[in-house]
Symmetry: C2
Subunit: 249 residues, 2 copies
């Protein structure tokens, strides 16, 4: 039961997620994809700006209608998106990609892809989910503030890539993982995700609004939660609520 993708292309758009959320509200079907060369108002998590040099990177959003999921199961789509991005980038570059909880995709330890899931619900049922993806493909330079944490496929490999091919790779990987999600086999999705996560055993700090917790990154549950080993025992954190810092010591 593969998703049938219907791709809309824009040279410039305010935000591919905003555009698809509108189509989502208007009842458009699952599988509509919006791709843009340039976003005038690209966003990341926590309302942060998502910068991208024009026509260099792959910026797109996918409309989903995962009515088979409960509201507390949406997390699995973030992990499915991260995995699909990792597989697509690995297939294209031949390099190993790692995943950082909850939704970062890293190449050589720097961010290569961002994921932003937005959606709407109605009486505890999902209405639509918009899965936004930004992949740094052919951009060669980043702002001073970003260059220490972000990279691109071109920077790492020294060559340019076909963004269309990368999109097709992503969508085909996502389609097959989405079939696993559809069977509610969250274990298999999270198992694959854990295979690409290199944070286990690392000392991290979890910031939860005003509170912060230090401990060891013990595991990620099949419910997507971060399991932090602290001196006072295990603590569980949902992806939505926290920011984490990894201590490189």
């Amino acid at each position: 039961m593969a998703v049938k993708f219907d791709i809309y292309r824009f040279h410039e758009i305010d935000s591919t997620n905003n555009y698809l959320a509108k189509l989502g509200r208007e009842g458009f079907p699952e599988g509509v994809v919006v791709v843009a060369d340039h976003q005038t108002n690209g966003r990341g998590r926590f309302g942060r700006k998502w910068s991208s040099e024009e026509s260099k990177n792959l910026l797109f959003s996918v409309l989903l209608r995962p009515t088979f999921l409960n509201l507390d199961e949406v997390f699995v789509l973030t992990f499915a998106a991260g995995l699909s991005a990792a597989y697509a980038i690995e297939g294209t570059t031949g390099l190993e990609v790692t995943l950082k909880w909850p939704n970062d995709v890293l190449l050589q330890g720097k961010k290569i892809c961002g994921i932003l899931l937005e959606g709407s619900f109605d009486s505890g049922l999902l209405n639509y989910v918009v899965m936004g993806i930004g992949m740094n493909v052919n951009q060669k330079k980043f702002d001073e503030t970003l260059s220490s944490i972000a990279t691109s496929m071109a920077i790492v490999t020294g060559r340019e890539f076909d963004r269309e091919e990368l999109l097709v790779f992503f969508l085909s990987h996502f389609s097959s993982i989405y079939d696993i999600v559809r069977k509610r086999d969250f274990y298999s999705v999270m198992k694959r995700w854990r295979e690409k996560c290199k944070m286990f055993g690392k000392r991290i700090e979890v910031n939860l609004g005003n509170e912060s917790f230090s401990g060891t990154f013990e595991d990620v549950g099949d419910d997507g939660k971060l399991i932090l080993k602290t001196p006072k025992g295990m603590r569980y954190f949902s992806a939505g609520e926290v920011k984490i810092n990894v201590r490189e010591d």
Copy 2:
């Protein structure tokens, strides 16, 4: 930390929930309330039409920004809304109101109030929640199809009520329950809710898409889930996914 309510009144509107969802997307603050004498496109759960005779009933929606809740905790707002409605109707009529899982408010066994929660999230964090309430106040007659399941305060008591006063009652009860929700004391909210639920021990049938389950209504958890006792053991159901029938035998 009471919510400051800001009430917008309309004679006619398509749907108070639709209107507030728009304000929610535009960044309006928590506490905006939209009241309408008449909705041209009033909705209930599962996209069902919500009918109401013009200028007879209390139809309103409240904009919330419960950023302190995780996505899997939104359920508690439905229960908080049901409780507030029950308290408001009891305070006005002096009659006992009961609650039916997950979100029905009953007077003398018939539906007196409907609740529709809609909302949007962004990276696992809630953006806004619109809590829509329809209370049957002064309507004296219902369609044939509805009259066996719906009632109003006027039908039951034989007199009319001030809809404004009822709104103020609701909002003040809700404000104090919302403070409990803010402390994440879901146990206290659910405990109060269970006190007004008369379904315990009843035989019910749970319809979950294609599957259906029969059993005894054992309890409602602090996570809002229905706990059904079946011959094969306890089963847990989320409010979003199911419809239930109570067997009156």
